[in-house]
């Protein structure tokens, strides 16, 4: 790449390849590379910073992560991880052995995460699609309502979740004040941030936080449906229910396919909501997988085990995502 003089023959090819590139006034000798090479190399040159960074922040860490998962990387080796002994597939074996404590806890956490994800994603989607359909037509105050609905999503996640942990305090929280003092629904004030109720709290907060995203995307998608479709349906005497069932929902299908996938990945990988709500060790009922791995790594300082769990998690996500994409054909629109 450092040759300054173009090799013979390249000059002849240059005019056809790149004559349109530069104006006639541009001095030719300023060229460092022959035209052809320049044109072929240009995309890579533009990509170079991104490629280098990708290598540094994504590919190298992933490779390191895989290597880590085959090592016994406890606290004493963290400052010099090259010396950590190899353990082969031991970390993986322990992680998936459901009869031993580590594997059992991981399986439990995985199942909690699955239940949480299914509940939170379906509720967030349901609220989003309902609000989007109800707000498709103009009415007074629609703009205000739209901004209000989007605000929970726009808030930095920690301020949103800290607010919820205030609302969910056993003493002095708004939730208990309403259901116990004002409505008298419960005899005593329930705990929300510890014990079994923590799962409910987690789902509610996650839904509150994510449904506006579904709403935002679906509202945009609804505006792309040609209104002639509705007009034709009305001429044919279709009621609103039929219009929603026959026009709106089918038109939303491609968007929904991608949206549900995105919501699934976010919710399944969610670390922020449980971490801020419960801290480093979540209650058993709300022990999501990312918190579980975090705890295995930074509380018990077993990085090998944590990495093995991360790799398993990634394999699971790849499997589900791949299967989903194959089944729905979602996201196959861009010609790359």
């Amino acid at each position: 790449m450092t040759t300054l003089s173009p090799p013979p023959g390249s000059e002849a090819a240059a005019p056809s390849a790149g004559a349109a590139d530069d104006g006639p006034s541009r001095p030719r000798r300023r060229r460092i590379l022959p035209d052809r090479l320049r044109r072929a190399g240009l995309p890579y040159l533009l990509l170079l910073p991104a490629l280098v960074l990708e290598l540094l922040i994504h590919l190298a860490p992933m490779a390191v992560g895989v290597v880590m998962s085959f090592k016994e990387l406890t606290q004493q080796y963290i400052r010099n991880w090259g010396e950590a002994p190899w353990t082969g597939a031991d970390n993986f074996r322990i992680a998936v052995d459901v009869n031993a404590p580590v594997g059992e806890a991981l399986l439990h956490s995985f199942l909690v995460t699955c239940a949480f994800t299914v509940l939170a994603v379906s509720l967030a989607w349901l609220l989003g699609v309902t609000a989007a359909i109800l707000m498709q037509e103009s009415f007074r105050g629609r703009g205000v309502l739209r901004a209000l609905f989007l605000t929970p999503y726009a808030l930095p996640v920690y301020t949103a979740v800290i607010t919820w942990s205030f609302l969910l305090q056993r003493d002095g929280g708004m939730v208990n004040h309403v259901i116990h003092d004002q409505l008298g629904l419960t005899d005593s004030e329930p705990f929300w941030l510890i014990g079994d109720n923590s799962f409910v709290a987690l789902v509610v907060v996650a839904v509150w936080r994510t449904w506006p995203f579904a709403f935002l995307i679906l509202m945009a998608a609804l505006q792309n449906i040609p209104k002639e479709l509705y007009e034709a349906a009305q001429v044919d005497g279709a009621g609103i229910r039929q219009q929603i069932r026959r026009i709106t929902l089918p038109s939303l299908r491609p968007v929904n396919q991608v949206l549900v996938l995105v919501l699934f990945l976010w919710t399944f990988n969610d670390f922020n909501v449980p971490y801020i709500l419960f801290g480093k060790s979540a209650p058993e009922a709300a022990d999501l997988i990312s918190i579980h791995i975090y705890q295995a790594s930074f509380v018990t300082w077993d990085f090998g085990s944590g990495s093995a769990m991360s790799v398993l998690l990634l394999l699971f996500l790849l499997l589900v995502t791949g299967g989903y994409l194959l089944a729905t054909g979602a996201g196959r629109k861009r010609d790359v």
Binding site: A20, D21, G23, L46, L47, A50, I57, H58, M62, L73, I78, R79, N80, G82, L127, T130, Q136, E137, S138, F139, R140, G141, F149, L150, P152, P156, Y158, T159, T163, L167, G172, G173, H177, W208, P212, L216, I217, M219, A220, A221, Q223, Y230, V235, L259, F268, N269, N272, Y275, I276, S290, I293, Y294, F303, S310, L313, L314, L317, K333, R334, V336
Partner: protein
């Protein structure tokens, strides 16, 4: 997507015929100023209901739909707004009001929480740290993403598909997957070189690029694709080099998109918790971690926590709401189409 074209047509020119309890009156009164064509549309709205020409039709506008809408949207409003309301009102309460029983109405209104937050914890330092880290991560990723996205959008080359698939798929990986190795790398690199990388702002900025960079590239590809190629081809024939075409034509045309991408990157970096919880120390702590410092006091000053939360939120929310139109364009062009 442009609200101006979509929400304008008042829904149904003859709504008053719906009688009492009919749809919201004054169809033109909604959305303060989004519509340019307001009033010009005498045809029906784009949504449900009848078209203007069929005003006498008995099928529409169904009262049941209007009432369903009112009830459901009221419930949703309660759900969405209650925490926000509590956040604002609690930030204006004296400490007694937030420690004992919850009160909807403050016993006295006070702004002292907003004054006290700065001395209870070093909030200003957290603020500066957040600004630097989120700002630098945003700046780097937008700059680098602009070149990369331009290459992907305008050129065919080997490995293009691999590149875009990599970019897209890294966005689905759990953050914890990158956190453990990056932590190890920084600790060990710091040991080897004697530079305290772990805990430094620079290291945190690099970890933030793991999510801001792929996102920015992906969104900008979408924006650049939406700019007609004729524009930069004209610039090329006029004597610009490819870089000149990018800087003088494509970037200016994509300014709304680039700003939206920057705002979104900044938002995600501002709200990031996972990396910050591990990669920061006393002096480099960001707001995300620093705010939790209020909770470690012997007594939690919830009024101050809410005040600090609002201070950390308001600029972000305002930016988001102002730019959401462009954001949606990018999100739908880039990821959901």
């Amino acid at each position: 997507m442009s609200e101006a074209t979509a929400t304008t047509a008042p829904a149904g020119g003859s709504r008053h015929e719906a009688g009492p309890g009919g749809p919201a009156p004054a169809a033109g009164a909604d959305d303060g100023g989004t519509g340019t064509a307001r009033g010009s549309g005498s045809r029906g709205g784009r949504g449900y209901g009848r078209t203007g020409s069929r005003a006498a039709s008995p099928t529409a506008p169904p009262l049941s739909f209007v009432w369903t809408r009112r009830v459901v949207l009221t419930l949703l409003t309660l759900f969405a707004a209650t925490p926000l309301l509590v956040m604002v009102s609690s930030s204006l309460k004296p400490l007694e009001d937030v420690t004992d029983r919850f009160r909807w109405i403050p016993s006295v209104l006070t702004i002292s929480p907003y004054v006290d937050i700065w001395s209870t914890v070093p909030l200003a330092d957290y603020f500066v740290n957040s600004l630097i880290v989120a700002g630098a991560a945003t700046g780097c990723s937008v700059l680098i993403a602009t070149f990369a996205a331009y290459a992907v959008s305008r050129y065919r080359f080997r490995g293009k598909r691999l590149f875009t698939v990599t970019i897209l798929s890294t966005q689905m990986f759990p953050g914890i997957l990158f956190l453990l190795p990056l932590f190890l790398i920084f600790v060990n690199l710091g040991n080897a070189t004697g530079i305290a990388l772990y805990g430094s702002r620079g290291a945190l900025i690099v970890t933030y690029l793991t999510f801001t960079l792929p996102f920015s590239i992906w969104m900008l590809i979408g924006y650049f694709d939406s700019i007609p190629r004729d524009l930069d081809e004209a610039a090329l024939t006029d004597g610009c080099g490819p870089l000149g075409a990018l800087m003088r034509v494509v970037v200016p045309a994509a300014v709304p998109g680039i700003v939206a991408v920057a705002v979104y990157s900044f938002m995600t970096a501002w709200g990031e918790v996972l990396f910050a919880s591990v990669m920061t120390n006393e002096t480099t702590r960001t707001l995300a971690i620093g705010l939790q410092g209020y909770a470690t006091q012997t007594q939690v000053y919830w009024n101050q926590v809410m005040a600090a939360s609002l201070v950390a939120s308001v600029p972000i929310v305002a930016g988001f709401l102002l730019l959401q139109r462009y954001l949606v364009t990018g999100l739908t062009a880039g990821a959901v189409k």
